[in-house]
Symmetry: C2
Subunit: 557 residues, 2 copies
C-alpha cells in the first residue's frame, strides 16, 4: 500500500534513511567554495521537525466525519507529519519554505482513497462544502505542482493517491496494462516485470513519483527516445471530476474528434484526478547498453544528435553535457582520486586529439532486443565518428546509469552549506536551439551575478541536451549559486524570471517535462495566448464548476 | 491557385476528364451481377447538371457587398456550379442526394479567401450577421464533413481554402515546413520535393484533399506506419476563429499544460478554420519497396502484423486483405485475362502449399534510406515466413501502388448500374480485433440481406487491416450491394447503423481516420460520454460563441 510517508523526508529529497555521502567530504566543499569564488561555505541547516507549527485545521468536525465515512477514518490523516509532508512539493522555492519551517500552506487533512469511487465521492463532498482539493502523487513536483494553495477557499484537503497502486490488468495480446494511478515507479516496474514487460518511464524522480503524476504533468523519462513521453505511452484514463467520471476510449488511434485523453495529459489536477490509466508496455529489453562519447564541442555533439534522430536510429537516450557540465562532473568525479599514470596518459591522449576545455560528454543508451540495440549502437557509433567524437566505452555509461536517480540527493547537503541549486528546462526546434542555449545561459549567469551575496562571488551554470526529436530537442540547465541568506526567495525569483523570460523571448517552451505548477504560471498566458487560456478555462468550468481542484496551478485566475 | 473546381466532378469522384475504364467491360458487369445474385444490373444514371435547381441565395445584397470587400468580388462565387459543387461531400449518402439532383443544402455563396487575415475577417462578419460558415478543403469527406447544413441559421457560406496553397517556409535544420492549409496533396508534395523532403501523407483522397482537411478530420495516410497520422506530424497551427486567431506553439514537445494543437486535430471545423500548419517533414525516401505476401488465413496475417509492430520493424504500410477481399480482387483482376499456363501452374503450386479459399493477401511497403528499407524488408520477410506466408514479390506491390488512388473512381460507374458501394472503418486493440471483425462483418451481411431489393440477392462484404500499431490496428470494410432504388437512403442508413452499432458494442472506435461529420454523429456521445461532450461543447462556446461554424457536424446539438 504505497510508500509510507514517514520514510520519506518531509523537507528534502528522498528516503529519510539515505546516507549523505558528502557530509565528511571537506575536499568537495572546499572545491565548491572556490568554484563559487566564496572564501568559505556557511552552515545553513534547516529547521527541525520539532520546531514546526501548523495552522489550525479549518475543517469542521462534521467535515471530518463525512470524510471518515467516505474513505474510512484510518485514511484521513491530520497529524503534523502528514500535513507537513503534503504542504509543498520539491521545487527549490518549496525547499526554501520548508527548510524555514513555513507550513502556512499545509492542507487541513490528507485523505488516502482506495479507488475511483472513493475519489469521486471525495470530490463530490468537497464541491458541496467548498473545500479546495489538491491531488498528490509522489509529491516530487519541482515547479510547485502540489502546493497546498487554497485560492478563494477557506478549507483544503490533499488527496494522496499512493494507496491506489494496483496493477488492474495486463493485456499481453495488445501489449497494454491498466494500472491505478497512485503507483510509484519501482512498484509499477516490478509488477510489470513479473509479466515480462516494461513501461520504461524513468524520470529522475522515478523512485517516488507516480503514474498519475507523470500523466498530470506531461512528463518524459530519461529513456523517452525509446519509450516515449506520457502522451505517447498513454492510451486511456479514468478521470474523477467534481461532475463525475470521465473515461476516455482505448483505441490505438481514432478520428472521432479531438481525443479527450490529450486534454488530460498535462492538466495538472485542475480538471480532475487521474485514478486509472491504460498504457502501452513493451517487452523487457534484452539489452541495456549505455556508453559514453566525447565530442570536441557542444555544436558537434548537437549536430550528431540531430543526425541520429533524422536517420531514425533507435536510441533510448542521448544526453549531451555542455563543456561546463562536462568539466564540472569531471572535476567533481576526480576529487580525492589520485592522479594515476593512466589518467595522465588519458589527458595527454585527449590533448593530442585536440579535445580541450570545450569538450562535451554524451551518454547514449540503447535498449531493446539484442539485434535492435546492437544495430542502433553501430549506427550511432558511425554518426558520432562522423562528427569527430571519441567513443569512451560502457564504463562511463554504466556509471551514469547506476547514479541516474541520485542527483536530487545532492541539493539538501548543498542547501545546508549556503549553496543553492536549481534546474530548469525547455525545448525548441533545432534551428532555434543554439540561440536559445546561449541566451538562457547568459540570462542565468547575469542574474546570478546580480543576486550573489558577495560582489566577487559567482555561480556555476551548466546544461545538457536531455531529450531529442527529429525536429528539436530539450535543454536542461543546472545552476549553482551562493545563497543570499537574507533574501533567498527574491534571489531565486530573480534568477528564475531572468532565465524564463529569455526562454520565452527565444522561442523555447517554458517547460519540456517539469510542468507548469505555480512556478511557471506567470508565463503560461504568453505561451498559450489569451484565446488558449479561455479554452482551457472553459474546459475547467465544464468539469470543475466551482474551481475546487488544485487552485493556483497551471491556469491563471 | 488551387484546383479549378470545374475540373472536378460535382456529383461524383475526381477529375471530370477521368476515363471510365469499366464502361465497355460487360464481362465485369455480368460477373458483378452474378456475385450479387442479381439477374442483371440496372441502368441508374445520375441526373444531369442542366436539370438542377438551387434554392435562392439567402444573402442580402449588403452581405454580398461586405464579402466582396473582404475577399474581393472575384473570390465570392454564387454560380450554380460552385454552389452545387460545395453542397455536399463525397459520402455514399452525399452521392445519393447529389445524383438525385437534391441541392437543398447548397451554401448561399462560396468564398475563396487568400490568407489568414481574410478568413478571420470572414468569420467576424459571419458571426455579426448570423451566417453559418462551412469550412471546405478538398470536399472529399466520406462522412458528411462539409455538407451545407446551416443549423439554426438562415444563411450559409462555404469557405473554400483552396486558394491558400502556398508553402510559407521550409526549415531544413529542424526538418519542418510551414504551409497554408488549403494546399492539396500533389501540390504540397511537389513543393516539398523541390526541397528534398516529403510529408508522406497519402490518404486515398490524396489528389484532392488538403492539408487542412487532413488535420481537421484527424486523418491517416496509407503510409502512416512510417509517416504518422495527422496528430503525429502536426507541430503547430494557426486557427482562425470567430473570436480571433489561436496560434499554437511549435516546440518539439512541451509540458506546458494540455497542448492546444491536440484539441484542433480532429475538430472538423467546429472550433475554427485551420489556415496554416507547421509539420514535420522527412527526407525523400531513397527506396519505396512495395511487395506482396500470401497468408494462409486472416488470423495468421494479423498475427504477423502484430509481431512486426511489436518488434519495431520499420514498415511504411502493412495492408492485409481478408479472404473475401483477396478473392474478390483476384477474380476481378483475372476477368478477361486468358488462363495461361503460368497462372495454372501458380494455382497448382498454391494448392500444393495448402493455400485455399481462406488465403489472404498482404501488401507491405518499406520506405526510407536504402539500409533502413532493406533491413525492414528482411525483418518482415522473416516474420511473414514464421507465420507461414508466401512472398509474392514486388509486382503485386507495385500494382497496388500504381492504383492506390484509383479505387474511389469505381463507385460512380457502379452507382450508374444499380450497385451501391460504401466503406467504413474502425480500430481497436489487438485483443478485441478478432471479435470486432467477426461482429462487424456479420452485422453488415445481415443488414444488407435485409435491405436488398430481391429476396435472393446478396451483398459482398470485404475487409482489410489498413493501419497498425503496437497495441492494435484498424479494420477497413468495403461493402457492395444491389441498390433498393425506391429506398436508397433508408437502405444505406440501415446498413450503416447495423455496422456502427456492432462496432461500438465490440469496443471499436467509430472511425479510425474518416472522422465524424454528420454520418457518425449519432454515435459520438456513446464514444465520448456526456461529460466528454460537455467539455467539447465548452471549447466550442469559448471559440465560436454563436455556433456559426460547421453546424450539424461532430458535436450533437
Amino acid at each position: 500500500m504505497g510508500i509510507d510517508r514517514t520514510k520519506i523526508r518531509w523537507n528534502g529529497w528522498g528516503w529519510a534513511a539515505h546516507k549523505d555521502d558528502l557530509s565528511d567530504r571537506e575536499d568537495i566543499w572546499r572545491w565548491l567554495a572556490s568554484e563559487l569564488s566564496m572564501p568559505a561555505l556557511l552552515a545553513t541547516p534547516a529547521r527541525g521537525f520539532e520546531e514546526l507549527s501548523l495552522p489550525p485545521c479549518a475543517l469542521s468536525l462534521e467535515d471530518r466525519h463525512s470524510l471518515n465515512r467516505i474513505v474510512g477514518e484510518e485514511h484521513v490523516r491530520g497529524d503534523v507529519y502528514e500535513r507537513a509532508f503534503h504542504t509543498l512539493g520539491r521545487s527549490y522555492y518549496d525547499l526554501l519554505r520548508l527548510r524555514a519551517g513555513d507550513l502556512s500552506l499545509a492542507p487541513d487533512v490528507v485523505v488516502y482513497p482506495r479507488g475511483t469511487e472513493e475519489v469521486l465521492a471525495v470530490l463530490k463532498f468537497a464541491a458541496e462544502r467548498d473545500i479546495a482539493v489538491i491531488p498528490f502523487g509522489g509529491g516530487t513536483s519541482v515547479v510547485g505542482g502540489v502546493s497546498g494553495v487554497r485560492g478563494a477557499f477557506k478549507k483544503a484537503i490533499t488527496v494522496d493517491l499512493s494507496a491506489m497502486d494496483r496493477l488492474i490488468d495486463i493485456d499481453n495480446v495488445s501489449g497494454t496494462a491498466t494500472v491505478e494511478a497512485g503507483i510509484a515507479g519501482p512498484a509499477l516496474e516490478k509488477a510489470l516485470e513479473t509479466k515480462g514487460v516494461t513501461l520504461g518511464h524513468t524520470p529522475q524522480s522515478f523512485e517516488f513519483s507516480t503514474l498519475g503524476g507523470w500523466i498530470a504533468h506531461r512528463g518524459a523519462g530519461q529513456g523517452s527516445n525509446r519509450y516515449g513521453r506520457a502522451e505517447d505511452w498513454l492510451i486511456g484514463v479514468k478521470l474523477a471530476t467534481p461532475r463525475g467520471l470521465l473515461a476516455t476510449g482505448d483505441a490505438p488511434a481514432s478520428a472521432v474528434g479531438p481525443q479527450l485523453v490529450d486534454l488530460i495529459v498535462g492538466s495538472e489536477g485542475v480538471f480532475g484526478i487521474v485514478t486509472e490509466a491504460t498504457v502501452r508496455v513493451r517487452p523487457q529489453p534484452a539489452v541495456c547498453d549505455y556508453r559514453g562519447y566525447l565530442f570536441r564541442d557542444f555544436e558537434s555533439g548537437m549536430a550528431a544528435i540531430r543526425a541520429a534522430m533524422r536517420e531514425d536510429i533507435a536510441t533510448t537516450m542521448l544526453r549531451l553535457s555542455d563543456a561546463d557540465e562536462t568539466r564540472f562532473y569531471r572535476s567533481y568525479g576526480n576529487l580525492g582520486r589520485p592522479r594515476t599514470i593512466l589518467r595522465r596518459l588519458t589527458d595527454l591522449y585527449l590533448e593530442m586529439r585536440h579535445f580541450d576545455e570545450k569538450a562535451c560528454a554524451l551518454i547514449a543508451g540503447f535498449e531493446g532486443s539484442r539485434s535492435i540495440a546492437k544495430a542502433a549502437r553501430k549506427q550511432f557509433d558511425a554518426v558520432a565518428r562522423r562528427h569527430g567524437a571519441l567513443a569512451l566505452g560502457t564504463r562511463t555509461g554504466e556509471r551514469w546509469r547506476q547514479s541516474r536517480f541520485q542527483a536530487p540527493y545532492l541539493r539538501d547537503p548543498m542547501m545546508d552549506r549556503g549553496v543553492g541549486v536549481d534546474t530548469l528546462e525547455t525545448a525548441a526546434s533545432w534551428s532555434k536551439l543554439g540561440v536559445l542555449y546561449a541566451a538562457t545561459r547568459a540570462a542565468l549567469e547575469t542574474a546570478i551575478q546580480q543576486a550573489v551575496p558577495r560582489e566577487d562571488a559567482k555561480g556555476i551554470v551548466m546544461c545538457h541536451v536531455s531529450h531529442s526529436y527529429t525536429d528539436g530537442a530539450s535543454l536542461y540547465f543546472t545552476y549553482i549559486f551562493p545563497r543570499t541568506l537574507d533574501g533567498d526567495v527574491v534571489q531565486w525569483k530573480t534568477i528564475k524570471k531572468a532565465a524564463t523570460d529569455a526562454i520565452v523571448a527565444n522561442g523555447g517552451t517554458v517547460s519540456h517535462h517539469h510542468g507548469v505548477g505555480e512556478d511557471h504560471l506567470p508565463w503560461f498566458a504568453q505561451e498559450k495566448g489569451t484565446l488558449g487560456i479561455d479554452v482551457l478555462r472553459a474546459v475547467k468550468a465544464a468539469l470543475d464548476p466551482k474551481g475546487i481542484l488544485n487552485p493556483g496551478k497551471l491556469l491563471p485566475d
